[in-house]
């Protein structure tokens, strides 16, 4: 085992070790001070944990690829809200209502296409103008959110369909519908990133864009594809979540971009690009949801979650820096 391998193993294992620490902490402390009689490490509770990780999780998985590219997408929260509005509103259109329950899959398609289209806008601008993705998606975050408010003013957009709710609440082999979507996304994206040319190109571009261009990788179309992918995933997240709750507030999904980025960084993906993994991001998402859930379980103030996550994020970044510095020193010798 080379030192590099050891370092990698340590980095990838860190998030899972952290999850174990959280689990142990909340189980022990929960037993002592929680008002609940149920144990924290209860099978049902852990299944719920996965389900509740889905909305931000699905977005964070897409964000991993964007960040491995060395880009960032701040517009996912607004895309999420806009796709949700299309999902719920389209079911009230007259021709859709005449379709009965067949309107449901059609509404999903509309919502997903909305996400892809919004992602394509981001991708095209990044490709054709060469402006940094941070600025482009900052602008589209504001723009898309503007569209959300134009759609229905300050009012929530609502359509409660019990067939849809029953589907979303269903449990197949013990796992909730949302969990299946989350795990399915993990599997597909993991395959893409580890087994395909597209995945290898993503790392190559993030590592050294110029070298990637010289190697003949078409960076522009590659970015476009990835932005369409994250648009799709933001919409998928909305589809999964709003199938279960038939109403969207115009400010829904705000700050989701930051939670998604937090999960990705917790999972060890580098902000500068070139390094990261889908599985570790799943770990980051679970770690955040576990904190929220656990602090609620032991009766801590909800706002402490933000404080704790902030502190952990800083710790992760310092750790990452230390490891990298050691790596460089070793190279010199």
């Amino acid at each position: 085992m080379t030192p590099q391998d050891r370092k990698d193993l340590f980095k990838r294992g860190a998030i899972w070790a952290f999850i174990l620490v959280e689990l142990a902490f909340f189980s022990i402390v929960g037993d002592a001070i929680s008002v609940s009689d149920k144990a924290f490490m209860n099978v049902d509770n852990m299944l719920l944990l996965l389900k509740q990780s889905a909305p931000i999780g699905i977005i964070a998985l897409g964000m991993t690829i964007i960040m491995i590219n060395g880009n960032i997408d701040l517009s996912v929260g607004a895309t999420f809200a806009l796709a949700a509005i299309v999902l719920l509103d389209s079911m009230t259109w007259p021709f859709m209502q005449s379709l009965g329950n067949w309107a449901i899959p059609l509404a999903w398609v509309f919502a997903l296409l909305t996400g892809v289209a919004l992602g394509a806008i981001n991708g095209l601008i990044v490709w054709k103008t060469g402006v940094d993705a941070f600025i482009v998606t900052l602008a589209s975050m504001l723009g898309f959110r503007g569209l959300v408010f134009m759609y229905n003013g300050e009012q929530p957009t609502s359509h409660l369909n019990w067939t849809l709710v029953d589907f979303a609440e269903a449990q197949f082999l013990g796992l909730h519908t949302a969990t299946w979507f989350l795990l399915g996304t993990v599997l597909i994206l993991w395959l893409v990133m580890t087994k395909t040319v597209h995945g290898r190109n993503a790392y190559a571009i993030g590592n050294n864009r110029e070298a990637a261009v010289n190697a003949g990788i078409r960076v522009g179309p590659h970015f476009l594809l990835n932005f369409m992918l994250i648009g799709f995933l933001a919409a998928l997240s909305a589809v999964v979540f709003y199938s279960e709750s038939g109403s969207v507030n115009p400010n829904d999904g705000m700050l989701y971009e930051l939670w998604a980025i937090t999960a990705v960084v917790l999972g060890g993906t580098k902000l500068a690009g070139g390094y990261g993994s889908i599985i570790s991001t799943l770990g980051g998402v679970i770690a955040i949801q576990l904190l929220r859930k656990g602090l609620g379980h032991i009766g801590a103030d909800t706002q402490t979650v933000n404080l704790v996550i902030g502190l952990i994020l800083i710790a992760v970044l310092i750790l990452d820096r230390q490891l990298n510095r050691k790596g460089q020193e070793e190279l010199k010798i």
Binding site: S36, Q52, S245
Partner: protein, 316 residues
């Protein structure tokens, strides 16, 4: 011997322990967005204080931070923890209905606090605890009518109304309460026109400016809340129109200050402390099997320049 005594001791403590546990009830609350305004912050403090004062009650206090997804997750967590009752301050009156149904299916009674969920969810909740907006509207009408009678203009006064955001239940109910009650107490007062101010002070000021241009004779203004009422007051001040009676609802601190200065006549006092205590009491009553009205309102008294010294200044 020693062993048996120990065992006996353990048994008695166990019995005592379980007896005490049977008495206590665990109530979970998921709030809308604590910290976004001082009404909600005060509400949370009052809720915790009320729960601590009752030795039989344990509470799990959660806050959704305005995020529907988080609120639904919190509902699921409370169901999972098998609390005895759940109090919810909905982030969205429709989005939480499926989560409320889940609690209902798990036989956990749900009390909705402050603002009600949509009617489709009524089958799944035990009670709604909050302000009665229709009564608030009719009380505002009474405040205004009484003042007109004092001034001796009850036979000819003309009133305009600035309502809250269209579509909001609170706005609709307050307007209805006012419009129904005014002709009953002051049949000769005319309501000239109603326009929405969207709960927004600037919007309300513009609406009032338009009213002032349109009508030379305005004796009273009813606003759906004090925030809008103060906006209208500012418009009247800027136009130099005096002697108009302003009545609002949900007494805000700006309204209270304007009343202290003598510019603003009256409002409806809605205390977050009463709101929180009513919600907890409703949940306790439901758990004790008492008959609780489906719409369980707490009292929101009238406040005018005459009796404002009996009320502390609102914190929001």
């Amino acid at each position: 011997m020693k062993m048996t005594r120990k065992l006996a001791l353990a048994c008695t403590t166990a019995v005592l322990g379980s007896a005490a546990a049977a008495e206590t009830m665990t109530i979970g609350i998921t709030q809308n967005n604590v910290g976004v305004d001082s009404y909600q912050t005060t509400y949370e403090k009052a809720f915790i204080a009320a729960a601590e004062a009752d030795p039989n009650v344990e509470v799990v206090v959660l806050d959704a931070g305005g995020d529907v997804a988080r609120q639904i997750a919190q509902m699921e967590d409370l169901i999972q923890q098998a609390v005895d009752a759940i109090i919810i301050w909905p982030t969205n009156g429709e989005a939480v209905i499926p989560a409320v149904r889940k609690a209902h299916q798990a036989d956990i009674p749900v009390v909705v606090t402050n603002s009600n969920i949509a009617e489709q969810g009524f089958d799944f909740i035990a009670s709604f605890s909050g302000p009665d907006n229709i009564t608030q509207g009719s009380r505002s009408a009474e405040i205004m009518c009484d003042k007109f009678k004092d001034m001796g203009i009850a036979d000819e006064a003309r009133v305009v109304q600035i309502s809250g955001q269209p579509g909001y239940t609170t706005a609709i109910e307050r307007a209805k309460g006012f419009e129904d009650r005014l002709p009953e107490v002051c049949p000769n007062v005319t309501l000239v026109e109603t326009q929405p101010g969207d709960w927004n002070r600037e919007k309300s000021q513009q609406v009032m400016e338009a009213f002032l241009v349109k009508y030379d004779d305005i004796d009273g203004v009813y606003a759906g809340d004090d925030n809008m009422g103060v906006g209208a007051l500012n418009a009247a001040k800027a136009a130099g129109r005096e002697g108009i009676i302003f009545v609002g609802a949900t007494n805000f601190s700006v309204g209270y200050e304007a009343m202290a200065e003598g510019d603003y006549w009256g409002s409806i006092y809605q205390s977050p402390v009463d709101d929180a205590e009513a919600a907890l009491q409703t949940a306790i009553d439901v758990l004790n099997g008492e008959d609780v009205p489906f719409l369980n309102y707490f009292d929101t008294p009238k406040i005018t320049q005459d009796n404002m010294d009996q009320f502390s200044k609102p914190v929001f």
